[in-house]
Each structure stands twice: as structure tokens, then as C-alpha cells.
Amino acid sequence: MNGTKAGAAHRSFHSGDPDFDRVTCPDCDKADLEVVSLFGGATSEVLFRCNACTSCFNWIKWQGALPPSAHGGN
């Protein structure tokens, strides 16, 4: 049901990403999520699957984060 081992490892790698720490499921509000794809319906979206209620949803990437620069972090 969950696909290949490589696919699972791929999702697990992205699911631990601190950028996605505050994402919760819009249906059940749980945070037990996995990243299905870094690109959802549009490239500006990440596709998530909720492990609690199994629904999938898109999440907009831009939350104002900037890459490190001479000004410091975000």
C-alpha cells in the first residue's frame, strides 16, 4: 500500500523537514503527516498525506522564509 522501500525512504526524508514542522491536517488537525511530493497541484505547493485520517492535501510553501544571507537567517 505504501509503495517501494525507496519511495518510503524518500517520503520519510522530507517528512522530517523542519520547514514542515507546523503543518497540520486541515481535516483532523493532526500533525502525523508524510510528504507525498515536494510539488503538489502547483510547484508552489507540497502534497501531504495525513497518517491519522488518510486524507491528502496541498500546502503552500511560501511562509516568508529566506535563505541565509549576510543579514543572518530568516
Binding site: S44, L66, P67, S69
Partner: protein, 260 residues
């Protein structure tokens, strides 16, 4: 006090203009790199991601050309009217990649370098300029994340890692050169246009590029030493020489009457 809209169309500082033309032209060529290389992607997310990065970079180019157009430049000339010697893209992008690892190295360095230079305008008093800088940063954040993801994967294979590091040795000095010499005067900063001297932006670029070993997931990697710019270097263009003919053929916009 009443004013006319036309009075707002002031000319920009020439150093600021030069920086933004260099950033916009580099992003124009980078967008073409993504368009040319997309079918070498390894998966559907690569296709989606690379095409996304392609259009975003074209969007940055367009936003900057439009801003310059509002300050005395001609958008049509910027987009279509310049020859190979007048396009100020980074020398880093002159030669095509020979493989996937070199493509990732080059895209990573180009995204990182353009972000570092434009970050010097985040606090600019013209909110359009500061806004363009911030938007580029927000989008470069995910472009760099894409490159870092691939570096994580490449680092797990000895051959791919070796090819990646060979490309870093070749390409990193070209990206560093874009910022100019370490001890150059910086009239743009002195004029209060950029809130950071370019030497600090250059150092920030080198510091981020220096994390390559972390991204690959192995031992620290020593970056190659800076290479002095060639004698034909043009400070205002941040490059030497014209675009190679083959690249210009890809990049240039076709005559409008032929573009049907």
C-alpha cells in the same frame, strides 16, 4: 502637495541598475538552463520542480525589466533588443553541463549567488526594489532546498559525489568571480543603495557554498581557491566577454513577427 505620476519616474542609481541587470540577465539564462535540462530530470517531481524554477526565474527577470522600464529603460529593448555582448549574465552559465551532477552544481551556485547579491537590497527605501529582493529570496529558498535534496542523494554514491565535486572545482570560482575582487571599492554601498558592501555578500556566498560537505553528508569539503578575473573583465557587467554564440541562440528572443 500635488504631483504628477511622471514625476515619480526618477532614474535609478547606475550601480544599482548594473546589479539588477546582471541579476535579471543571469536569471534569464538560468531559466533557459532549466528549460533545456528539464527532460534530464530523474522523476516526475524533477520535471515539475525544474519547470517551476524555470518559470519563476523568468518571472524574476520580467519583474526587474519592468521595474527598469519604469525608470527610463525600454522593456522591449531589454527583452529583445540586445546582442550577445550586451547581456550581462554570469560567466558560470556560459558552458552547458556535461551531466546531472554538474547541472545541480551550476543551478545551486547560480541561485545562491543571485540571492546573495539581491539580498543587499532587502532594506532599500524603494519598496518595489525591496519587494523584488524579498520575493526572489522566498522563491530561491525552495530552489536551494531542491538543490540540497539532490546533494543529499548524490552524496550517497561515490562516483556521483566525485563528479559533483569535480564540477564544484570548475564552477565555484566562476560564481565567486561574479561578486568582483574581495577588496574592490563598492560605490553602490557607499551611495547608500545597497545596505551591505559587496565584500560581505561575497563572504556570505562563500560561507554558504562552504557547506557543500554538510549537504553531501560526508567529510568537510575544501572549496577551490578564488581565480582572479580575466583581463577582459567588465565590472559593470559582472562578466568577461560576450555570451557564446550557441548560448545566445538559445537565450535570445525571436523577432516578434517570426514568433507565431
Amino acid at each position: 502637495m500635488a504631483y504628477k505620476v511622471a514625476e515619480l519616474e526618477t532614474s535609478l542609481n547606475s550601480g544599482l541598475e548594473a546589479d539588477f541587470v546582471a541579476i535579471a540577465d543571469t536569471k534569464l539564462v538560468l531559466g533557459n538552463w532549466y528549460a533545456e535540462c528539464v527532460m534530464n530530470g530523474r522523476s516526475l517531481p524533477d520535471f515539475a520542480g525544474i519547470l517551476g524554477m524555470c518559470t519563476v526565474n523568468y518571472g524574476h527577470t520580467r519583474a526587474i525589466y519592468q521595474h527598469l522600464d519604469r525608470h527610463g529603460h525600454d522593456y522591449v529593448h531589454l527583452e529583445r533588443g540586445r546582442g550577445a555582448g550586451k547581456i550581462h549574465s554570469m560567466n558560470l552559465l556560459d558552458q552547458p553541463p556535461e551531466g546531472w551532477e554538474e547541472f545541480i552544481v551550476t543551478a545551486w551556485l547560480a541561485e545562491l549567488a543571485t540571492w546573495q547579491l539581491v539580498s543587499g537590497y532587502l532594506g532599500h527605501s524603494d519598496r518595489s526594489i525591496a519587494g523584488i529582493a524579498r520575493k526572489i529570496g522566498e522563491e530561491a529558498y525552495f530552489h536551494l532546498k531542491y538543490a540540497h535534496g539532490w546533494m543529499h542523494i548524490i552524496g550517497q554514491d561515490a562516483d556521483e559525489r566525485a563528479r559533483f565535486l569535480a564540477a564544484v572545482d570548475q564552477r565555484y570560482p566562476l560564481a565567486l568571480q561574479w561578486f568582483g575582487a574581495e577588496d574592490n571599492d563598492d560605490p553602490v554601498h557607499a551611495a547608500g543603495q545597497r545596505d551591505m558592501p559587496v565584500a560581505k555578500l561575497r563572504a556570505a556566498f562563500a560561507a554558504e557554498a562552504g557547506k557543500v560537505g554538510d549537504h553531501l553528508g560526508g567529510d568537510p569539503v575544501a572549496l577551490p581557491a578564488p581565480v582572479p578575473p580575466p583581463t577582459a573583465w567588465r565590472d559593470d557587467a559582472r562578466r568577461s566577454g560576450p555570451l557564446p554564440n550557441g548560448l545566445f541562440e538559445v537565450v535570445r528572443f525571436k523577432d516578434p513577427e517570426l514568433a507565431h
